[in-house]
């Protein structure tokens, strides 16, 4: 949903003054703020936690001669591999136009922040410049295809170690143990 610039600025300036969540629910919710793809939790997941979608694959693996334990292990690694693939595709998705920040110059953004700030926020000049710079950088990134591509590639670089681990585990788990 697209929000007005003044609302966006008010939100950001209010956020600067926030003391964090107070309720238990809020704390739990904000604890998951930094969750990016949940791949680490999949890496430490027990083999018995194979999802329901995977049960047919476990049966197929057992039919191919894998022991029940090995079949579960193999399918769990495939689940991890699929999660990495999903995360990679998500990282490459285009940001919807409605979520993009307008492409204005740094000076224009600082002026807008100064003109539209709400008096209650009591922003100092340094805060105004900080928010203006932030908006400028967001706008620059959202409208520059090369910069967007750079962000996507960087996201994939970060996912590379999960990918390597997942595929190595798949290879290892697919071997029939004597």
């Amino acid at each position: 949903m697209k929000i007005s610039i003044s609302k966006l600025i008010a939100n950001r300036s209010n956020a600067l003054r926030s003391t964090g969540p107070r309720s238990e629910l809020g704390k739990r919710r904000s604890a998951a703020n930094s969750t990016r793809h949940g791949l680490n939790s999949l890496l430490t997941q027990q083999q018995s936690e194979v999802g329901r979608d995977f049960s047919s694959l476990v049966a197929d693996a057992i039919g191919r001669g894998y022991s029940e334990r090995d079949a579960n292990a193999l399918v769990a690694t495939l689940q991890l591999g699929r999660a990495v693939i999903d995360a990679k595709h998500r990282a490459y998705q285009e940001k919807p136009e409605s979520e993009k920040v307008e492409a204005l110059t740094r000076r224009e953004w600082i002026r807008i922040v100064r003109d539209t700030q709400i008096p209650e926020s009591q922003m100092r000049e340094s805060d105004i410049r900080w928010v203006g710079n932030l908006m400028f950088k967001c706008g620059q990134q959202d409208h520059d295809p090369v910069s967007q591509l750079g962000v996507k590639i960087e996201e994939h670089r970060k996912l590379m170690r999960y990918e390597q681990r997942a595929v190595n585990q798949i290879r290892k788990a697919a071997r029939i143990k004597k």
Binding site: R64, G65, Y66, D86, Q93, I153
Partner: protein, 192 residues
């Protein structure tokens, strides 16, 4: 796609290009289902990213070549149309397809202004975006490793029933040998 294929949450599999690519790779492997179907689908994804990264690598270089020629990035210049026009013309030129007169003139003028030719422009662009290109190359290399490992996994899963049968026969043979050795031992004891 096989029905036992793991469901994805991003919706990328609905894209017609991805569907087409996936179907082609699955067809190359004789439409496997179940476990092998999923392994082949993950292999197809690795091939998909190799193509995407290669295209992106070229796009990064062409974008940088355009930035050098127009002396401004697409965002800073605020003259997006001109930047895109130059990028399109350069892209066609690099791909070896013919340029229309206007586009050819535009590129020629910009090259003369900047005292460049195509090779010098490309090498300068590459040197400026070397870090990004290096990252993309690493990503491509990772995909090749994934392809190799997934192919090995597919072979293991494909020949798993035969290998399992072979191992079972070997075990049976060993058991028979032990049984025979015991019998021989008993016979020898009886004879003595």
């Amino acid at each position: 796609m096989t029905d036992s294929k793991l469901s994805s949450s991003s919706g990328y599999e609905d894209s017609p290009d991805y569907q087409q690519h996936l179907s082609k790779v699955i067809a190359d492997y004789d439409h496997p289902a179940g476990l092998i179907g999923e392994l082949v689908a993950q292999l197809a994804d690795a091939f998909w990213w190799i193509n995407v990264y290669r295209r992106d690598k070229e796009q990064i270089v062409i974008a940088q070549m355009t930035t050098i020629l127009t002396d401004a990035s697409v965002y800073v210049s605020r003259n997006e149309a001109r930047w895109l026009e130059t990028a399109e013309a350069l892209s066609a030129l690099v791909a070896g397809s013919g340029l229309e007169n206007d586009a050819a003139n535009l590129i020629e003028d910009l090259m003369v202004q900047g005292q460049h030719n195509l090779a010098s422009l490309r090498s300068e662009a590459v040197s400026r975006v070397l870090t990004k290109i290096d990252t993309v190359d690493r990503l491509i290399d990772r995909q090749f490793k994934n392809v190799k490992l997934l192919m090995q996994a597919i072979e293991s899963a494909r020949f798993a029933p035969e290998l399992h049968k072979k191992l079972q026969l070997e075990v049976e043979q060993l058991e028979l040998q032990i049984q025979k050795a015991h019998e021989d031992q008993h016979l020898e004891v009886d004879r003595q």
